[in-house]
């Protein structure tokens, strides 16, 4: 088993000098096929640490697929083939000795449709903690309550739900459900958060609230967010990646991309000529 968190401290065989990892996610020549259909072509990307990076592009351009490579959740489909490397915090997560569980502990994911588990609000928050930390599973009720309160407070949900922690999470509004889905990742202390159009199922008010929350979280986490909404990418991300037909066209600072795009395709997409 490879623990991504502890490995860097151990002496590595290459004896290379330890450098601070600048890139939370780095891919080299990443290709992906669904059966015989190639969805991603030779993608080389470097996603910087502790920034919000957004991915934009028309439907089917491979942005969600790319995101789903970063925690290898793509593989549950069974007919997916991947070549190349994806390094998360300096470790190739596609290396044969890697344990998926450790990858997913480091990399949390928020889905398009809020998908709280069919458990109580409390159990949703404790779900990840119980999986990864045997002590949390056995901890006293007070200690668990503490985990729940911290996570819910962090996503600004504590005041709304503190009196009904035992209720089913499916009773919450969509906005609250999505916040809960973010909150349940936090007790495990992931380094990277992947978000697949996290606001697309929400109304404008919910979108605003969740966006604010994501902005709040950016100092502590590296956030890679896929969005259909260009306005959202523009106002809520530091860097922006534009993908088209499974390839990365452009990757610059968000402010630059939306003012002076380098490629014609980018400019066309941003101006709404297709997509």
């Amino acid at each position: 088993m490879v623990d991504l968190e502890t490995l860097p401290e151990e002496p590595s065989e290459s004896a290379a000098p330890e450098v601070d990892i600048v890139h939370a996610i780095e891919t080299r020549k990443l290709n992906l096929w669904y059966g015989t259909f190639q969805a991603i072509f030779d993608v080389d990307l470097e996603v910087k640490h502790n920034l919000i990076t957004s991915m934009i592009g028309p439907s089917g351009c491979g942005k969600s697929t790319f995101l789903r490579c970063c925690n290898r959740i793509n593989e549950r489909l069974g007919y997916v083939r991947t070549t190349g490397a994806v390094e998360i915090l300096g470790h190739d997560i596609y290396a044969p000795e890697v344990e998926l569980i450790q990858v997913r502990k480091q990399v949390g994911m928020v889905f398009q449709r809020p998908n709280p588990l069919p458990l109580s609000i409390r159990d949703n928050i404790l779900f990840g903690a119980r999986l990864h930390d045997p002590e949390a599973a056995k901890a006293s009720r007070a200690a668990q309550d503490d985990i729940v309160e911290k996570a819910l407070t962090r996503v600004l949900l504590w005041d709304t739900v503190k009196d009904r922690l035992g209720h089913s999470a499916r009773e919450l509004s969509l906005e609250e459900q999505q916040k809960l889905c973010i909150a349940r990742l936090l007790p495990v202390q992931p380094k990277v958060l992947l978000m697949d159009e996290p606001c697309s199922a929400l109304d404008p008010k919910g979108t605003e609230a969740v966006e604010e929350l994501i902005w709040e979280l950016r100092e502590a986490y590296t956030i890679l967010i896929v969005t259909h909404n260009m306005a959202q990418a523009r106002r809520a991300s530091d860097e922006c990646i534009f993908m088209l037909h499974g390839k990365v066209v452009e990757h610059t600072k968000t402010a630059e991309m939306f003012v002076t795009p380098i490629h014609k395709e980018t400019a066309d997409y941003i101006e709404g000529r297709y997509g």
């Binding site: 959740i73 549950r76 069974g78 998926l100 998908n115 069919p118 458990l119 990840g128 999986l131």
Partner: protein
């Protein structure tokens, strides 16, 4: 001069399609209602035959507490069903011990692990297993299990609770597998994906997420299996030994309620006390299976109402 438009056909014209539609409506209605009428009819028939006996002759206390089922005794016939109830209960109980782990395991494998062709073939096989006639199962109990049990456990008779419980368990497992698999399949895939993305293993996903979500359907599957066990006649008749006995070990022969009716009804005079006593057993069985099925139904529907 402007030309007038052609006059529209009469709106109340009836063509062939209209008549076909009406006929089909009537047929479908009759088909639908007849199922309900038939069940009601059966219920009324059984009650009519047995109820008079229950209220006049039968000693209810004796029925439930006495193990003596001697309807043909010349001096004083007794109608104690306790041994028969114990027989049915013990066989069904053992059958469930066999069937629940088997069918849940099979359902988990088919629903959660098998993919593509494996899954399709397994599903077809399970459905084929469910279609094996019960007399064939009884035959297996009689001719294969019987000598096997005698040899393995060194007991004089191989037709007993163990034999019929195993047979009944294997019989009930396919239908329970199908129902349990349906219940697992009804769990939205998003739950599994969410749990896997958080780092849960396949087993953790199944045990902590899918099971709680499918709980009602799984309970219903088990209950319907129990109902099936209670009502099964032929296989139990052939494999249980058919001797009136309150079992104290799995190697005791027993007699089931259903098997009693099947074996004795043909030899009684219509309208006699014995005949009506058998109908009392029928009412009792009907009530139990009805309750089990109703419970299963309520368990499945329960959470949806909220």
């Amino acid at each position: 001069m402007a030309q007038g438009i052609a006059k529209a056909p009469l709106p109340d014209q009836r063509n062939l399609a209209w008549y076909v539609d009406k006929t089909v409506q009537v047929l479908v209605f009759v088909g639908g209602i007849s199922a309900i009428l038939l069940i009601l009819g059966i219920f009324v028939f059984i009650t009519k035959e047995g109820m008079g006996f229950i209220t006049q002759t039968l000693d209810i206390g004796e029925f439930f507490t006495s193990p003596n089922w001697r309807p043909t005794s010349e001096n004083r016939p007794t109608y104690g069903a306790l041994a028969l109830i114990a027989g049915t209960a013990s066989v069904t109980g053992l059958a469930m011990l066999v069937a629940v782990p088997f069918s849940l395991g099979a359902a988990i494998f088919i629903g959660e692990f098998a993919t593509g062709k494996t899954r399709e073939i397994l599903k077809i096989l399970v459905e084929m297993l469910a279609a094996i006639p019960s007399v064939v199962w009884g035959f297996i109990g009689l001719s294969i299990m019987n000598p096997l049990i005698i040899d393995l456990f060194n007991v004089p008779v191989g037709l007993n609770v163990l034999n019929s419980g195993l047979i009944l368990g294997l019989m009930a497992a396919p239908i329970m597998t199908t129902l349990a698999e349906d219940a697992l399949k009804a769990v939205p895939d998003g739950y599994r994906e969410a749990a896997e993305a958080m780092g849960a293993t396949r087993w953790q996903v199944i045990f902590r997420v899918v099971f709680p979500a499918a709980k009602n359907g799984l309970v219903a599957a088990v209950l319907l299996g129990v109902g099936r066990g209670f009502g099964e006649t032929m296989a139990v008749l052939m494999a249980s030994g058919h001797s009136i006995n309150i079992p104290t070990s799995p190697f005791d022969s027993v007699r089931a309620l259903t098997a009693t009716i099947a074996a004795e009804l043909g030899e009684t005079a219509v309208g006699s006390d014995h005949y009506r006593a058998l109908f009392t057993l029928g009412i009792f069985l009907f009530a139990i299976t009805f309750l089990i099925n109703l419970t299963a139904d309520l368990v499945v529907r329960g959470p949806r109402k909220r």
